[in-house]
Symmetry: C2
């Protein structure tokens, strides 16, 4: 039966439509209903298949021993199991119907074949009529197969159905096919490349698009990044805090903020939790982190900008040198990369099935360069730039390639940025006034963290604000927070979706935001 | 020296002001500077005290072995240690200065006493001049004491300073005193009760207010609630997701939403992640949770309403009965309560020092009542209400007391709410059309979770929306999400700050939101 699964083709849309109508009609009948056919004869499977009534919590069916598809290989030969899954593909052939059932990333072949004791012609016909993506409950025997079923993740067995119920019907006409959305990017088949699903179609129909194995894996790995970030920091005595998103004054000067109507007043959406993290430090929480939405009203339509994203932010008091913090952050990344490599290998492999990506390389401890060294490397590669000029996006990318070639790492830390290109609250370098105690971190040549030692002395903060021509009356509350004794501290903010995108080597941040927001997209 | 610490009094504001000025002046000098007095004589402590220059990461002082205050009791007698802490209180007396140093919730007595080899009169004078709440670095010998120092958390030892540096000076005039803000609510001392700090003063000066032992404990316990929620669910196969806060259409009908200007358009702030959780279920994530900001534009100025709070939300596909989910949520609460009791006893005790609260009681498994039973209990207690009427706030509170008296639990689940009082997407009870498959959960008589089985059948959802006179064209996207096959599912949303408030038995939700937002408060 191996070839059957491999040969599965697009079922005709007409047939599917008809089936959906039948299923919908069946769903209206009382309880589990058998579907008589015109070509009938006595239906000896009556009551063992059909569309179930909408599940409304009438009973618990506690006797049904459900098994997860990826656990089927642990079942004994001929074990009778229940499986709830989606109809991934179907193909009817005479007295048999072959289905692939999908459950998240796992698939298994299921056969409904006429059998004069248990499975009627009508039951086979019904099974073949269920539209793709519908959810079904199947009772079946687990049958080992001799030759591997290449089309499924469960390759050593198939299910022989004895009962078959439609739980929730999908529309016959889907706006995209999961198979198409899951097609490998570098396919050898020119036909396959033509039916690629474009990004807007995917995002417009995100409920379907998210069902692909790659997407199932991406968002599980993303959950892993957050979990690792929190667990690694909590183990070092960091406390999780929550900071307000609605704020009364724009946090960084007022550009690029969204305005909110707040009762009779107006307010803003926070571009960063920075002030609040710093207040938590001034309030003796010593080491804090926060995971939450941050908002940027930038009209940037690039592969790496979102108007709303998840910030992984941390802030930490230190004793004498901000490198105490820099090293803590650097090591946190190392631990995250190790955690992903060790605990999410299956997810990384699933993404690799669709997108061709080099494994992520990192050094332990991480590579740390100074800004001036980076400038020297870029100049050697032919870039013309000033000492105190910020890195352009092309320079960042080039630097990533130069670093990779020289040090064989996809992650590195760039320390001591020019003071002139950093915000007013950045602590200047004590040994060279052109530079500052600030840093960025990079993955595959793109910035994923920006941070610094912050000025904790209120008088000096005022001095620096004036130097930047900032109206200090507008940041009085910020300055005030440091007037009650504040330890020296440093921190940084990480763009979560960027970390996942760049770790996996994906080309667009919309692939790592479950419901992305950009200047042109507010739905779904 | 026990009586010295106990006798510590408010230092004169005049003296503090003078000291702050001196400290600020000292801070301007190069590096560590000694402060000569007029009454001087040779200062043999020169270089061993003074205001340090602003810490700018010049050196690492790697040789300084810092010890946390709560670890001092593990030090050997006469060990020389470094401690960084805040000056909690000071009292100068002749040739001695007694300070209490505070580090988060821990305090220790520190003595700076004239000693003709090491500690000069000038050094003692300087130590006594440092304003409260300033941060200092102290090098000291650990000296055991015979009689307990009742005023400190470290009661069996004190520090004898040999070096004393001001790291960050606090203003001499503080808007509130930590001692006052930390005063027990039920003090026997009528003087103490008079100088209680009111809530707006606390919130206006949150950086200071958060330094009290109770607040340090509240927000560490709050981090614990989030951690437990996530860990308990992740261990059961739940995946963490992130849902957008900026949405194109108001999620629940349009009332009570904040409007955001979105480039040339306008948008809203999400009142709940519900649609997105449900989409994740329809997209095969099976069991999901999300922790994030939710927004309510309600002009409610009560002890339990915020305009922005942290939602602990979960959603879960089930096989046949929503009680599969209800029990999962109920058990999650049980596990959270056990985790707090077992891992946060110190924090609970610290809160109990300031606020007089009964320990939180719960049953395992949790008590589950049906709405009709609750109505019967209320009627028996004299309340007049209809079968299909929602619980009023006073009825909720009364019911909490009745349940506590009868079952001895502060947590219970109320199942089967009247259909009429729940939103259109709530699944009706299959056995009684007056009721629904929905539930609330309560702590100390206040609602902390609301949830239900959601209608997963698109046609039926349309029918119910029409019954509620909802314009289905406005919720087309919501309905569409269920047209591609969706398993039956249920979930709920928990107000995190409410859980912490009610677990600890506090009287106001502003005590459990680090930077609360209400209709009248947008700062800090």
């Amino acid at each position: 039966m191996v070839e059957e699964a491999a040969a599965l083709k697009e079922e005709s849309k007409k047939a599917a439509k008809k089936a959906a109508a039948a299923a919908a009609k069946a769903a209206k009948t009382e309880n589990v209903s058998a579907e008589g056919g015109e070509d009938a004869g006595k239906d000896y499977s009556e009551g063992l298949y059909g569309a179930t009534k909408m599940i409304q919590s009438t009973c618990r069916h506690a006797d049904r021993a459900f098994v997860a598809v990826h656990d089927l290989s642990g079942c004994e030969k001929d074990a009778l199991v229940w499986v709830r899954g989606r109809v991934h593909t179907t193909r009817s052939k005479g007295k048999q119907c072959f289905l692939v059932l999908r459950q998240q990333s796992s698939t298994v072949q299921c056969v409904v074949a006429v059998n004069d004791k248990a499975v009627s012609k009508q039951m086979v016909k019904f099974s073949g009529s269920v539209p793709r993506e519908s959810i079904v409950d199947v009772r079946a025997r687990v049958v080992p197969v001799a030759a591997k079923i290449e089309a499924c993740t469960e390759q050593t067995l198939e299910l022989h159905a004895t009962e078959f119920y439609l739980v929730s019907a999908a529309k016959a006409q889907l706006p995209l096919q999961i198979e198409d959305a899951a097609r490998p990017e570098k396919s050898d088949d020119p036909e396959a490349l033509k039916i690629r699903v474009n990004q807007d179609t995917r995002l417009d129909n995100r409920v379907l698009d998210l069902r692909t194995p790659a997407n199932q894996a991406i968002f599980r790995l993303e959950a892993g990044v957050c979990k690792l970030f929190r667990d690694i920091l909590a183990a070092q005595g960091f406390t999780e805090i929550h900071t307000p998103k609605i704020i009364s004054a724009a946090s960084e000067g007022g550009a690029n903020v969204f305005t909110v109507s707040y009762f009779k007043d107006s307010a803003y959406l926070a571009q960063s939790p920075q002030l609040y993290k710093q207040m938590a430090i001034a309030a003796d929480f010593d080491k804090v982190f926060t995971v939450g939405a941050v908002f940027r009203a930038e009209d940037s339509n690039t592969h790496r900008h979102l108007t709303e994203f998840v910030g992984l932010d941390l802030e930490m008091a230190f004793k004498y040198h901000y490198h105490e913090v820099l090293d803590t952050i650097g090591n946190t990344f190392t631990e995250i990369f190790k955690g992903l490599r060790d605990n999410y290998a299956r997810e990384i492999a699933a993404v690799g099935q669709q997108y061709n990506v080099e494994p992520f390389k990192f050094l332990e401890p991480p590579l740390k360069l100074e800004f001036a060294q980076a400038v020297a490397m870029l100049r050697e590669a032919g870039v013309t730039m000033d000492d105190e000029e910020d890195l352009s996006t092309p320079s960042e990318k080039l630097l990533g390639r130069l670093v990779k070639a020289k040090y064989d790492t996809d992650f590195y830390i760039l320390d001591k940025f020019p003071l002139a290109v950093r915000p007013f609250y950045t602590m200047p370098d004590p040994s060279n006034p052109k530079y500052s105690n600030s840093y960025d971190m990079f993955m595959r040549g793109e910035e994923i963290l920006s941070g610094a030692q912050r000025i904790h002395d209120p008088e000096y903060l005022v001095e620096r604000a004036k130097h930047h021509a900032i109206d200090t009356s507008k940041i009085a509350a910020y300055i005030e927070a440091f007037r009650f004794g504040c330890p020296p501290h440093a921190g940084g903010g990480i763009g979560m979706e960027r970390v996942v995108m760049l770790y996996l080597g994906l080309d667009n941040i919309r692939k790592t935001s479950m419901f992305p927001r950009d200047p042109k997209r507010l739905t779904p």
